[in-house]
């Protein structure tokens, strides 16, 4: 016992030491940070005296956002002119090159940030689960996950390098300004990146050595550290875009005022952080699920199919779990945007970029549609789920009506002749679907239906045995039915009350959806305790269509991420840094919707082609094990699928 305790203490100490070393760069730079990046200003007492003495010399500026006074500690934002000095270029838009580099870096970056979080969750599940076989399965899955992310990790670094070079060579004036303000942050960023790499490699290569007992817990804690570092990295990078959208910590001319925390902690920083973390997770889950789907479709044996079916299911569940809170984070971000600058909000939602939000709505709908489709297909791998399959068509109807309301644009695309025939911009019938009230109803109906599909999936092969099962079923049916009624009623009610009351209706609507999510899944869980199994889940017996649905889901994620990133970036219009540094290049205009869509599609395509390459690399290393296992099946050596 004593020895055990001793070991525990040692390991905790070792862990602490490791963390201390990893966080050392931050600690050492904190001093520099507090004093505004190295140039230590005179201590306050001295400053007060100094102020009296030479007032003329110490120039003060007013923070554009925090409205505090500070001593000017940097040069004003450069006033660029159109020319090769400020905007060196090739024969086409530099912006597009930058867009490409940025987007690819972001895709890979969010993938490698998300996957370790999944690893952490799955490894933890493996450690705490009582079932030995299951524990092993989880552990292997987590290992599979991290293996995929390792190659992607180096690609992320390479793409980051490419991104910096693109910035330096094509936008020297802007990048110079940005790096002058974020100098200390950028150094910390680099150091954190080193720390991340170190932890990641120890984590990955130490997997086998640290698989027993206490060492396993240390290994698991390391994944926590890895994720803390990764999250900090992302938050630092977010501070740059936050600064570009809603600058703070500088005066009106863009001069740095000595407080780096103000520069980092801008109006939109935290909403962006939350939104991005959730978005990364959903995206990462989608990509891993797509990997599993790809392996499933190219699998040659039933074992492989079973494994990848299961892996796809887990990854998909994780993706959807993070997809559900994502709209709320987005809502918060939008609120903060409106609070920061009303016209920025209107440009996004009602003005110039409103069309892109219609596309976004469509993509969100597709996400939920494919999620539901996957769940319905997954009923196919269970015995006894036939009783639910008959009713899917009604779910399709409800889902699709919600979807149609959700995507109906307020202002429709039409030819002038159609406009005349309609007699106005708004359609008297469909126009009513175009406003927020109806759309909230639509999306909540969609989510509630998804919850219902999930409940059906959970019960697929089980028959509740609790004595009150009849009441339970009726209660659940009533609850779902009246939840739909409540959601739709609130959507209609919204038309009859003023706007400021109407916006509040979305909260009870969402609460209704969440009630379904929490209470009904919980009640379902209780009802299924000790339920009669009508047959096991036959992993691998799922239709190929379901796997295409997963791929569709992942692609929709990727596309939507590109789209939202573009919207977020282009809302600055002709500013490099909003209201501080103007974009005077010839490309300060907003792209047409068509061009943007093509560009996003290209980025998505490039990402998937390159990540398929990464997947394929992953299969090269893993080939040996299945070969040995299946040695008795001549001619059936698993080989990576060709033709990607």
């Amino acid at each position: 016992m004593g020895r055990q305790n001793g070991k525990k203490i040692w390991s905790i100490m070792a862990l602490g030491a490791m963390m201390a070393i990893l966080l050392l760069p931050v600690a050492t730079s904190l001093n520099a940070l507090a004093s505004g990046g190295g140039e230590a200003p005179p201590a306050p007492a001295v400053k007060a005296e100094g102020d009296k003495k030479d007032e003329a010399k110490v120039e003060k500026g007013r923070d554009v956002y925090y409205k505090t006074e500070g001593i000017v500690a940097g040069a004003p934002a450069p006033k660029t002119t159109d020319g090769t000095k400020d905007y060196p270029r090739y024969n086409f838009e530099s912006r597009v090159l930058l867009w490409f580099a940025n987007q690819q870096h972001l895709y890979y970056g969010s993938f490698v940030l998300a996957v370790p979080i999944f690893c952490m969750i799955i490894e933890f599940m493996g450690v705490v689960t009582k079932d030995k076989a299951m524990a092993k399965k989880y552990d292997q899955l987590a290992y599979d996950f991290i293996k995929i992310s390792l190659t992607a990790y180096s690609l992320t670094a390479i793409l980051g390098g490419i991104l910096i070079f693109t910035f330096l060579t094509l936008y020297p004036a802007f990048f110079g300004y940005l790096s002058s303000i974020f100098r200390p942050v950028m150094h910390i960023y680099a150091l954190m990146f080193v720390a991340e790499s170190g932890t990641l490699y120890i984590y990955y290569y130490g997997w086998d050595k640290m698989k027993e007992g206490l060492l396993k817990w240390i290994h698991l804690s390391m994944s926590v550290i890895l994720n803390v570092i990764g999250t900090v990295l992302m938050m630092l990078a977010n501070s740059w875009i936050g600064f570009m959208m809603s600058p703070a910590g500088v005066d009106e001319q863009g001069r740095f005022l000595g407080n780096i925390w103000h520069v980092i902690h801008t109006a939109l920083w935290n909403p962006l952080n939350v939104h991005r973390i959730l978005g990364n997770m959903a995206f990462g889950g989608g990509v891993v699920a797509a990997y599993a789907a790809y392996r499933f479709l190219s699998a040659k044996t039933d074992e492989e199919r079973a494994h990848y079916d299961w892996m796809g299911y887990i990854a998909m569940a994780l993706a959807v779990a993070f997809l559900i809170p994502l709209p709320f984070a987005g809502y918060w971000l939008m609120r903060e945007v409106y609070a920061y600058r009303q016209q920025m909000g209107i440009t996004l939602m009602g003005g110039l970029l409103a069309w892109l939000f219609i596309i976004q709505a469509t993509m969100i709908g597709i996400l939920f549609l494919s999620t539901n489709y996957y769940l319905w297909q997954a009923l196919g791998r269970m015995r006894g789920a036939e009783k639910y399959q008959r009713y899917i068509k009604y779910l399709v109807f409800v889902l699709v009506v919600g979807f149609l309301v959700f995507i109906t644009p307020h202002t429709m695309v039409m030819t002038p002749a159609e406009l005349k025939a309609m007699g106005g911009q708004q359609h008297p019938v469909l126009g009513n679907y175009g406003v927020m009230s109806a759309k909230n109803g639509g999306i909540n109906v969609i989510i509630t239906t998804t919850v219902l599909s999930f409940v059906w999936y959970m019960r697929g092969n089980k028959e509740p045995m609790v004595p009150w099962k009849k009441f339970g079923n009726i209660f659940m049916g009533t609850f779902f039915g009246l939840a739909y009624v409540n959601i739709i009623w609130l959507a209609i009610y919204g038309y009859y009350i003023p706007a400021n009351v109407r916006v509040g209706l979305s909260v009870p609507q969402v609460a209704t959806t969440l009630s379904c999510l929490f209470f009904m899944t919980a009640l379902n869980g209780v009802m299924l305790k000790g339920a009669k199994q009508m047959g096991p889940i036959e992993w691998g017996k799922i239709s190929a269509r379901s796997q295409y649905a997963i791929i569709m889901l992942a692609t929709a994620f990727t596309w939507m991420m590109g789209l939202m990133g573009y919207i977020r970036s282009s809302v600055r219009l002709f500013w490099h840094v909003n209201e501080i540094m103007r974009d005077n290049s010839p490309w300060a205009y907003t792209h047409t919707v068509g061009f943007a869509a093509n560009m996003i599609s290209f980025n998505v395509l490039f990402f998937w082609v390159s990540i398929l390459f990464v997947f394929w690399l992953g299969t090269l290393g893993a080939k040996k094990a299945p070969v040995e296992a299946k040695a008795h099946a001549p001619g059936r050596v698993p080989e990576p699928a060709h033709g990607h």
Binding site: T408, T411, G423, G424, Q425, P498
Partner: protein
């Protein structure tokens, strides 16, 4: 079960006959008319009835041994939706939206047909049969498809090049227009700067002369219940004072200046409205002034089409900058009147 299904089947038959009758003029076209104000829900409700009806119908036919093959059920449903959207909803839905709805319907039918393995097999069997072409008849169909598909494609491409419309003029291209342009942070009218986020309508006042939206909200034309004027809240009453008097003055200005285009019912269908493309804004639509802050309207009225921001160009608005014709006070009063008359409340943040 059987009773419910038969009832549904009867409903389905009646609904379908009624729809066809109305469209082809057998019964009066507005036998079941779309009720103003309830049309969106009515449309969904009608579709739900049809779905229920078809389910019942299919169930009955099935039990009578005359089941419609899955394949034709799917095709038929898509055709029905397209037909419904094209003929039932008036005014006509623009093509882009119908295309969107049609596509989603097809996806829905696919999801329905492929939701379980058995249905999916049944659904694709006819397609596979044609492709395999085992019998002479199927071979003929396959050959016909082989010819028909390229011809159809050619036809569509040809059609898209041919000038459309009654006069066979070439149609103007589709224009993506944004309805709510982003306003500036502040606007300067008659030498005074108004910050859009914080300015208030000086005429939206309670009897004590203080800005009070709650008070004025109580006095507007009731929007939900058939546009009634509140009792003792008639602006045209001689004795009306304060807010109501301001509304009356705003109304006078409106009818001297604005109603020629925006219409005497404020619905954008004034005397000159149809000379413009697009027609003027319809204030009774829940998507226009009801969504906006009062200061936004003030800015739009003062600066007109010319004052719209550059980034959203072209704006396609010919509204004159009214600050050249009206005083600041007059503009505020007109805005007040527009909200009073339509029964909407200006949007407020918090």
């Amino acid at each position: 079960m059987k009773a419910i299904m038969s009832a549904a089947a009867v409903v389905g038959v009646i609904a379908s006959l009624l729809l066809l009758g109305m469209i082809f003029g057998v019964v009066k076209a507005d036998t079941v008319h779309l009720v103003e104000g309830y049309m969106p829900m009515q449309m969904i409700f009608e579709l739900a009835i049809f779905v229920a009806g078809f389910t019942g119908l299919s169930y009955m036919l099935n039990s009578m041994g005359m089941a419609i093959p899955r394949f034709w059920q799917g095709i038929g449903f898509v055709a029905f939706i397209l037909f419904y959207l094209k003929s039932r909803v008036y005014p006509p839905i623009p093509f882009s939206v119908r295309a969107m709805y049609g596509t989603v319907t097809m996806v829905a039918v696919f999801m329905w047909m492929s939701s379980n393995e058995e249905d999916w097999k049944k659904f694709r069997q006819p397609i596979l049969n044609v492709m395999d072409a085992a019998t002479p008849k199927l071979k003929l169909i396959r050959t016909l498809f082989l010819i028909a598909i390229p011809v159809a494609l050619w036809g569509f491409s040809y059609q898209s090049f041919v000038p459309q419309g009654a006069g066979a003029d070439v149609d103007e291209p589709i224009e993506l227009r944004t309805v709510h342009p982003a306003p500036p942070a502040s606007t300067k009218v008659h030498g005074k700067t108004f910050v859009l986020q914080t300015s208030q309508n000086p005429y939206r006042v309670n009897p004590e002369g203080k800005y009070d939206q709650e008070y004025s909200n109580k006095l507007i034309v009731e929007q939900a219940m058939g546009r009634l004027m509140q009792a003792n809240a008639n602006p045209w009453d001689e004795k009306a004072e304060g807010y109501l008097k301001n509304v009356r003055e705003g109304g006078e200005i409106f009818f001297q200046n604005c109603h020629f285009c925006h219409g005497d019912n404020l619905n954008g269908r004034g005397l000159h409205a149809f000379a413009f493309n697009p027609i003027p804004a319809n204030f009774t639509d829940p998507g226009t002034i009801a969504q906006l802050q009062e200061t936004f309207i003030f800015w739009r009225v003062s600066k007109g089409g010319l004052g719209l921001p550059r980034e959203g160009f072209p704006w396609a608005s010919v509204m004159p900058p009214w600050e050249q014709h009206l005083t600041t006070d007059e503009i505020w009063k007109v805005v007040l009147f527009e909200y009073w008359h339509t029964g909407y409340y200006p949007r407020t943040w918090d």
